[in-house]
Symmetry: C2
Amino acid sequence: MSQTALMIIDVQKGLDDPSWGRRNNPGAESNIARLLAAWRQRRQPVIHIRHCSVAPNSPLRPELPGNAFKAEAQPLPGEKQFSKSVNSAFIGTGLAQYLEAQGISNLVMVGLTTDHCVSTSARMAANLGFVVTLIADATATFEREGPDGVLYSAEDIHNISLASLSGEFCKVRSTEAVLSELA
Amino acid sequence: MSQTALMIIDVQKGLDDPSWGRRNNPGAESNIARLLAAWRQRRQPVIHIRHCSVAPNSPLRPELPGNAFKAEAQPLPGEKQFSKSVNSAFIGTGLAQYLEAQGISNLVMVGLTTDHCVSTSARMAANLGFVVTLIADATATFEREGPDGVLYSAEDIHNISLASLSGEFCKVRSTEAVLSELA
């Protein structure tokens, strides 16, 4: 039977830097910690994705303290880690080949940020043939100014990103729904 | 010197089907036609992407009349075409290899829909190292219901999709700005 991996994307200290602007969903990390505990208890695969930015001013550059995982998403020895330098966890990483070799065709995705690395990784996973579930309250994003000069709130970007992904690329569910089903 | 290709994504008759719901930006096709005429006049490369859906009820299935390109985006003999069955124009198509072989590193993207196939293709193009310009008024999308039960308007989805893409994956420009620069 196919395994379901919990894929945790870019839950790194550098995303607490105030330069990113206002964020939504401050509870995302505690939901991620709950999901991670449940996956470990059931000995299901956990995959940690770490962003190693090549942008000159990013707090996620590999040599900076912001590159470290947050406490809620700290890998245990033996859990698989992949490092990436672009948004998609599938580019330059060998992740798709690893999942195929392990017989993992189902992915539960959580992490940061909803509309950048999570959305890009979910889109590409689905287009490569993986079955993706995205946990709405275990992701979050930041406010952004559009090319139209409007400042869009993190909440609006988050909700509309999920509307674009839902059904087309993934199922969108809540932490509670997934944990109840496991229990 | 590197060439700049105009990449036209999924401008197909089946996207006029009323089942998709309300759309924004009814002028997208006429802007695409203007850009296409300008690219042809300058003998710059044009790449047509056609969606061949494998979904049972999609009007974009290859055997249906909706699979045909709209008049504004009809390829000329000799213009390159790629067919895809997922959102990303780069999966299962050989498109990246073709662009590299042709020395094309700059892409100007237009087409349908902003948040599904255009966004996914722009994200993957950028993550593969191409320089992407997305033409805001030569793309459009449809209203969608989110997993939260809210019906988001096509205009809001379009604008927020561009806010998520802009700067991170591409430059967002207008048809007029690009045509003025070419002139």
